[in-house]
Structures are given as C-alpha cells and as structure tokens.
C-alpha cells in the first residue's frame, strides 16, 4: 500500500517534526493541554467526590454526572465555547488559539471518571472496617485520611488513569475548531488532501495514547499500597465495574 509508505516517509522526515506547527510542537501543545485540563479536573472534582463518598451522600449525583457527560458530545461543547463571546477562540499563552475553550471542554470531560471512581472508591470501603476504626477512637478526619483514603486509592487511581488517557485522546478534537494539538496535523492533512500527513498525525496520537496508558498502568501498580495476592482479586472486582461505569468515549 502506497499510502503506508508515504506515511512512513512523512514520519521519518525530520523537517515535519521541527518548526512552528510541526509534529513536536503540536505534541507538546497537546501534552500541555492534557496535563492542565486533568489537573484542573482533579483540583475541582477529587475533593468534592471524596468528601461526598465519606459522607455517603450524593451517589445519585456522582453516577449521573458520568451518564450525562457521556451523552454530551465534547466536540459540540467545544464548538459552543468557541462560538461564544467568552471564552471564544482567542489564543491563551502556550496553549494556542482557542486554548481556554479547549481547556474548559477537556476539564469538564475529565470530571465524570474522576468523580465517579473517587466516590465509589470511598463508598466501597467495608462497613466493618469503618466501624473498627471508629471503635479504635479515630476521629472522622483520621478515619478518612488513614483508613478510607488508602483503601480507596486503587479505585481512585484507576479513575484518574482513565481520565488521563481519555483527555489525551479527546484533546485531538480541538483541531475541529482550529484549536491546538496534534489533531491539527490530521485535519490539515485532510484539508489539503495530503492523507499521508493525516495518517502520520493519527499514528503519533495513537502511539502516545498507548504509551500514556502503559505508563499510567505502571505508575498505578508501583504505588498500589495493598499487597498482592488474594486481596488483589477483590480489588479488581471493585474497580472494574467502576471503570466500566465511568468509561466514556474517547472523543465525541
């Protein structure tokens, strides 16, 4: 297939990587977007969801946020933000044109998996464990920090991991509103009928997505506070439905 050869040579050509709007610049742009949006979502979503989980309230809210989040196409949200008077399509520092609109859309997109998993994670801490901690004289604050939080960590972490990969993937669609990121390489390729360029952009985006997924899985494993063995199976049972519940589309 000719196109594959062309894509390959596009990727090997150093000049396509350097310069303004080159692959490398776009890659950095998209990574920056991803990290900022994820950070903002964590800052806003995590404390609220953990607190709700501790109080055992708002489960309805936590689950439904993720259901509603799935139904709203991020592309549509982004388009509305860009066409609005605020934030509009103005450039924002290193994020480029439509930077603020893209950041808002991505942070909103990252919220559902973070909120759902954090809430479910704290909620799933067994009742007896809670009671035992209270019986030992722990205050609510100590109970939360020393018992609930460590036990919930694997589920919370898997939510963050899901959000990271999904935000990276979704950041690509900023290009549909002429925003920043690697998607620009793809849409420009299509606009100029240069499919090799479109394919090359797609390969880089997909490659980084896989690297991020594997890296996040590695980090999660390294910081897992619970010992391996029989306990592991139970944790997976807890985290998997939660991850499925929060499993929003990669894009949209």
């Amino acid at each position: 297939m000719n196109l594959f050869a062309e894509t390959w040579s596009y990727l090997l050509d150093g000049t396509h990587w350097t310069g303004d709007g080159g692959l490398l610049a776009r890659l950095v742009e998209q990574l920056l977007l991803t990290v900022t949006a994820l950070g903002a979502a964590l800052l806003v979503g995590l404390p609220v969801a953990l607190w709700l989980g501790h109080r055992g309230r708002g489960g309805f809210l936590a689950v439904n946020i993720s259901n509603v989040g799935r139904a709203v196409p991020t592309f549509a949200l982004l388009a509305i933000l860009v066409a609005a008077d605020w934030p509009g399509s103005a450039p924002l520092g290193p994020y480029g044109r439509a930077g603020l609109a893209t950041l808002i859309a991505l942070a909103l997109f990252a919220l559902p998996p973070i909120i759902t998993n954090a809430y479910v994670g704290v909620r799933e801490v067994p009742h007896e464990v809670r009671e035992a901690a209270r019986g030992m004289g722990m205050s609510e604050r100590q109970l939360f920090r020393r018992v609930e939080l460590p036990l919930a960590l694997p589920v919370v972490a898997s939510g963050v991991r899901l959000a990271l990969v999904q935000v990276w993937a979704t950041a690509t669609i900023a290009a549909l509103v002429a925003g920043p990121g690697l998607g620009r390489i793809i849409t420009e390729g299509f606009a100029r009928n240069d499919y090799a360029q479109g394919m090359a952009g797609a390969v880089v985006v997909a490659g980084v997505a896989l690297v991020l997924e594997l890296a996040a899985a590695g980090v999660q494993r390294a910081f897992d506070p619970l010992p391996r063995g029989p306990a592991r199976a139970r944790d997976d049972d807890v985290s998997e439905p939660a991850a499925t519940v929060a499993g929003a589309p990669t894009g949209g």
Partner: protein, 235 residues
C-alpha cells in the same frame, strides 16, 4: 452555504442573520428543516449501523473468550487497546481501506462499541447462576439451546446496560465523523464553527443530546419488555 443576509435588512433581519447571530432561532430551524432532518437521519443511520456492527462482532468474540478462557485476556486486551486509539486518529487510520465514506465512520465507531459490548456480554453470561445452567442441562438442553433459551435471556439486564452505554457514547462520537464529511449532526456543528453560525451549531448540539436521551429511553423500555421477570425485583 453562506449565511443568509437577505430579507428586509433595515427593519427586520432574521434572528440567524450575520448581524444578529442568535443562539436559538426557530426561523433557522424552519428555513433549513430539510438540511437538519437529513443530517439527523444520517446521524441516526450511522449510530445504529455502528452499534449493530459492534454487537455482531462482540457476540462471537465474547462466546469465544468464554469457551476458551485463555483467549479472554487476549480478547479483552485487544478491544481495550482499540479503545485507547483516539477517535480522530482512528478515522484516518481506516481511510486507506474504506476511503472517505460513511463506512469509515461506521467501522470506527463499531470498534469502540465492541469494547463496551464484549465486556458487558462476558459479565452478563457470568452473572447466570450455575445451578440454573445445570438445571437446564439436566433437562436435556444442548449447548446452543442453553445459550439461546437460558443464558442470553438471563444475561440480558447486564448486556442491555452495556448496550445503553455503547449507544449513548456512539451518538456523541458520530459527530467526529465530520472529519471524513460523514458526521451527521457533526457536519452542521463544524459548519457552524467555520461560519460562526450560532443557531446552526447549537441546534445540532441539542439534537445530539436529545437523540442520545431518546435512544436510551427506547433501550430501557425494550429491556423492560424483554425481561418481565426483573420487574419488581429492583433490577
């Protein structure tokens, strides 16, 4: 297509003219009814075809993974790997095979739906109690009849939950198809962005959300009709 600036501009420009550019404009919906309905129909067709494709692919994969437990990790790993490929990247990767056609979008979205559906099918089949299975076998049910008459119906609540997730996600994802000019309502959204045409893009966005909600309700009702025994059990 350009923004209409016709009509008596001095005293009464339409609410979607270049000068007013309102977000909600019924006049726009009336004037462009045909265009909107076409986009909606394309959106529905692509979504349904993609979900149907996902089901068709997921069922044999799930049965295979269940029959040969060794394959389960491979099947789940493969479909999860597909899921990490961003949608805007997956479409260009398919273009060499399917070109700039609706098939590209359908196949791409079908692959995403596959991930959710394989998991749901496996979880659903696993939720069938062993004694039920043994009872049916004792009654002389063969493997195929057991699957069709006992296991699949009992797995339905879990499977339908997955189908709802897959369908709602696919409605949202179809908008991305605009990259290859087959995005249904997504085409209206991207046109609206290019022309700074607010009522067009908001109307399309609202229709997307409404369509997702409608299909979700249809699936819930279908599930209730298909699984009368779960009613009252709180499932």
């Amino acid at each position: 297509m350009t923004l209409p600036t016709q009509g008596p501009p001095a005293d009464d420009p339409t609410c979607y003219s270049r000068f007013v550019n309102e977000w909600l404009c019924w006049q726009y919906v009336e004037d462009r009814r045909g265009e909107i309905l076409d986009a909606l129909a394309e959106h529905v067709a692509i979504t349904l075809a993609a979900v149907a494709l996902g089901v068709l692919l997921a069922l044999p994969l799930a049965l295979l993974a269940r029959r040969f437990p060794r394959l389960e990790t491979a099947v789940l790993g493969f479909s999860t790997g597909l899921y990490t490929i961003p949608s805007l990247a997956l479409l260009p990767l398919l273009v060499p095979f399917t070109g700039l056609s609706a098939a590209t979008v359908v196949i791409g979205l079908g692959l995403y739906a596959l991930t959710i559906l394989v998991r749901a099918l496996l979880d659903g089949l696993r939720s069938v109690p062993d004694d039920v299975r043994e009872a049916a076998t004792g009654l002389g049910y063969g493997r195929a009849r057991l699957l069709v008459r006992v296991e699949l119906p009992l797995a339905l609540p879990v499977v339908m939950a997955g189908l709802r997730v897959a369908t709602v996600s696919t409605v949202a994802l179809t908008t991305i198809g605009t990259l290859v000019a087959y995005g249904g309502l997504g085409d209206l959204i991207s046109h609206g962005v290019q022309r700074d045409f607010r009522s067009e893009l908001l109307t399309a966005a609202l229709l997307c959300v409404a369509l997702a909600a409608l299909l979700d309700v249809v699936l819930v009702v279908t599930q209730r009709l298909l699984t009368p025994w779960t009613r009252g059990a709180g499932a």
